[in-house]
Symmetry: C2
Subunit: 144 residues, 2 copies
DNA sequence: CCAAATTAGTCAGAGCCTATGACCAATGTC
DNA sequence: GACATTGGTCATAGGCTCTGACTAATTTGG
C-alpha cells in the first residue's frame, strides 16, 4: 500500500463499513431483501414521490437501471408507483409502508455508527468531517 | 432528500466522483479495459507482490471474486502471477509493465481532483478531511 | 393548430461483478 | 505420518448496469 492512500480509497473504506453495518441491521430486522443498489435509488425518493428519471439522474445510473431497481423495490413492497398528476407519461415513485418501516432501522444503525466514529475522532473532528464532506458535495454531486 | 444526509451518502458522493474522473482519464490514455472492481484489487498489491488470499481479504471480497478479477488483469497485461518462493501452494500477484504504466495516469488524475477539492475547501479543511479519514480507517479497515 | 423535437418510461439483450459450494494440492501440527 | 488448515481453482447462479430500440405523452416553432 502507498504511504498516503488516495482520497478515493480513504472515502471508500468508511463508506463500505457503514454500508455493511446498515445492511446487516436491516437483514436482522427482517428486511433481508434490501440491497445497496436499491438503497442508492431509494434514498433519493422525495417526500411526495419522485419520478424515475429524476431518481436515475440523482443516483447517477441509467433510467433502465433505475427502473430495474424500482421494479424490485416495488415487488418487495418498499415503494409504490402512482400516476404523476402533472404528466400522464410519468409516474411518481413513493415510499410504501414497508419502506417506511425500514427507515428507522437504517437510521438507528447510521446513528450508532456515526456515534462510534465521533467517539473515535472526537466531536470537533467529526463535525469538521461532516462539514468538509457537505461542502465537497457542492462540487461532486450534480444534483445537490 | 433528508436535511442532513447520512455520512454514508456523504462519503459515497465524492468517492463516486473521484472514481469517474480517474477511469475517464485512464480510458482516454488507452487503458480502456480497466474497471473499478479490478482497481479495488489492483490497489492492494504490495511492492513485492501479494497473494490472492491477501488481496481478497484486504479488498473485502471472496477469493473467488479476487481470482476472477486477477484473471482479467492478467489477461490485459496489468499484473502477472509468479510462484511464491515461501509456499508452493501460493503465487504472488505482481504489477506488470502495463500496470506500472497506468499508475502515473491514475495518480495524476487523483492529484488533479484533490487539487480541485483543496481549492474548494481551503488547504486547512482539506488537510482536516484527510486526517479525519485516515483516523477513521483505523476502525473501519480491518486490514489497515 | 399541427408537425417536429423532446421527454418519461419500458423491453430486449449483453456483459460485468460477486457469492456459495465443492474440490485439489501443499503446509503445519502433534 | 494422520489430520486439520490454508492457497487457490472450477462450476454455477444471481445481481447490477449498460446500449440500443421502441411507445406514448408533452412541448415547441411556425
Amino acid at each position: 500500500m502507498p504511504a498516503t492512500p488516495n482520497l478515493g480509497l480513504l472515502l471508500f473504506i468508511p463508506y463500505r463499513s457503514m454500508e455493511t453495518r446498515v445492511f446487516a441491521a436491516l437483514a436482522a430486522a427482517g428486511f433481508d431483501d434490501f440491497t445497496p443498489a436499491q438503497a442508492r435509488v431509494f434514498q433519493r425518493i422525495g417526500p411526495g414521490g419522485t419520478r424515475l428519471t429524476d431518481l436515475a439522474d440523482q443516483a447517477q445510473v441509467t433510467k433502465q437501471t433505475a427502473g430495474f431497481l424500482v421494479d424490485q423495490l416495488e415487488r418487495a413492497g418498499y415503494v409504490r408507483r402512482v400516476p404523476d398528476p402533472a404528466d400522464a407519461r410519468a409516474r411518481l415513485i413513493q415510499i410504501a409502508e414497508r419502506g417506511q418501516a425500514a427507515i428507522p432501522v437504517a437510521a438507528a444503525t447510521v446513528a450508532e455508527v456515526e456515534a462510534e466514529w465521533t467517539a473515535h475522532l472526537g466531536a470537533k473532528r467529526a463535525a469538521q468531517l461532516r462539514g468538509a464532506l457537505t461542502a465537497l458535495r457542492e462540487i461532486t454531486d450534480p444534483y445537490a
